[in-house]
Symmetry: C2
Subunit: 316 residues, 2 copies
């Protein structure tokens, strides 16, 4: 099957509802933004053997890649619109595999309201495929996108959901068992690793009330440092306030990553409003610290002792 047949049969249907994609028959896509839109652009790549386990079903690989990009849009409060896809195929993958990959994209396109508008597929030498996505979303005036750089002294530091669930899921997906978990719980955790939930609705709910926001992909402690650096502030984190998965060591939970929960700062005056909005959408948020003058991240335990993390998160 030639690349052009592949585009026509596999990928063009993913782009059928977006006139911007010109049926994938052109070199490029064409977007006409509306007045007052800020376009939020992000990109992420994954590679076989590094970012996903061998024999992962292709639909899951595709969905996780799309979702990691969607998670970045979520952290800015953006509404997803379009994405481009690069597939770098090893000769170990056939068209049936690719059809599974495309089916994964189709499912999550519908679920999250994003559409393929372009791409490129190439062959690579060796047995390891790679994939990258560049995703585009919008935030419309009077709203402005949430950034990492807006944390103010005195703001409350918050996190959504429970941290470490993906770490438990990876442990299970790698073939380990946890006797404390029943089947339903095991499936829940494994899903959290394989199919993270981009917190799009949460990010949009935080527009206008949070001062900074990012998604947790590399580990809470390491990612908190990005908000600290970008904002020129110190984040004081109370370790034992961090909500974690039941079956994981606290220190592992906050350094593992792959959570795709949102970490954000909010003025104390906005806390009640944040609670009201997040209750409406059924997402738990928890206060885990404060923003102070200074720089970097300072973690303290329940006895107010400083806790150091030689390993803060995922090493790239």
């Amino acid at each position: 099957v030639s690349e052009f047949e592949r585009i026509a049969t596999l990928f063009a249907p993913l782009a059928a509802h977006a006139p911007e994609a010109a049926n994938l028959l052109d070199d490029t896509a064409f977007i006409k933004p509306n007045t007052g839109e800020t376009w939020v652009v992000t990109t992420d790549a994954i590679s076989e053997g590094v970012h996903y386990l061998p024999n992962t079903p292709p639909a899951l690989i595709a969905r996780k890649l799309l979702r990691t990009n969607l998670s970045d849009l979520a952290a800015k409060g953006a509404t997803p619109r379009f994405y481009t896809l690069n597939i770098m195929l090893s000769n170990t993958l056939d068209d049936l595999w690719l059809a599974g990959f495309v089916e994964g994209l189709r499912i999550d396109q519908e679920r999250f309201g994003i559409t393929l508008i372009g791409g490129d597929s190439i062959a690579v030498k060796g047995a390891h495929a790679s994939f990258s996505i560049t995703a585009l979303g919008i935030v419309t005036e009077p709203q402005i996108p949430l950034k990492r750089s807006g944390a103010k002294t005195g703001d409350i530091l918050c996190v959504s959901g429970s941290i470490g669930e993906a770490a438990v899921g990876l442990h299970l997906a790698s073939g380990h068992t946890l006797t404390t978990l029943n089947q339903e719980q095991s499936t829940y955790y494994q899903n959290r690793y394989e199919l993270p939930e981009p917190r799009l609705v949460l990010g949009q709910a935080l527009l206008g009330i949070a001062t900074s926001c990012m998604d947790i992909s590399d580990g809470l402690i390491q990612d908190a440092d990005h908000i600290a650096k970008a904002s020129g502030k110190e984040l004081n984190i109370q370790l034992e306030k961090i909500p974690i998965a039941t079956d994981i060591d606290l220190r592992k939970a906050v350094t593992h990553g792959d959570d795709y929960e949102l970490l954000f700062t909010i003025p104390a005056d906005n806390w009640e409003e944040a609670q009201a909005r997040t209750a409406l959408i059924g997402i738990k948020i928890t206060q885990i610290g404060k923003v102070a003058e200074g720089q970097g991240v300072m973690v303290r335990d329940g006895s107010n002792n400083i806790v150091s993390f030689p390993h803060k998160g995922w090493k790239h």
Copy 2:
């Protein structure tokens, strides 16, 4: 060196002049389009051993990747603005190699007025690195982007420059010599392969007068078929009118690809205007055929015999 240090020292300087990039300290970039802009989006990937020869200097790899994306923008008449970069690094590449890659980007960013606004770098298993770029450009009203789909019956089919020069260059770069060429000519052809010139000024000059346009990357015959398909027309090509490099077989020239010249259709009434505009910018354009009712590409030789091409261009 961690990814974050790499971003700060190597990549952030490439983004320093674009507030949209937020110093590469955020998850995303933030673009505020102006009224009347159409944003043109394209993406291309390359991989070691498939798209570039081993031991190619990293600066050249970076520049060629950027230029293949710029060539797609050129074919739409777009003005380049921003790009995102994914680097999928094998463990055979060190930071010195990467510094060379970045220097190549820096040179061509300045030359073509495009700026890095985001990216991702990952490790891949195996010895073969890959790279992808998604590039964004604009066309501003009253202009509208050139597309593949606008060819009309009776239009003239034209091509810029000379076809097959990159094919000669690859031949030379692969270690062959051509005794008919002096040193200066050899260098010229090799440059044409290693550093294609995106025809940005030409594409912009064709806005408003061409009816369709694309860049030739896979081979003239194969690429012409894309215009035919997207426009629902037949392109009649007179083989011997195609301007080719002096030291190449005609059939090879029109099927090799990597030319990055523009192939476009234009109403006969606009030919004089096209000649005037392209003379001003010092680019040769040549009439090579006509648009007719029908579908696909029909190539005829000087005796009006049909010439068939079992191999029409680069197989993906």
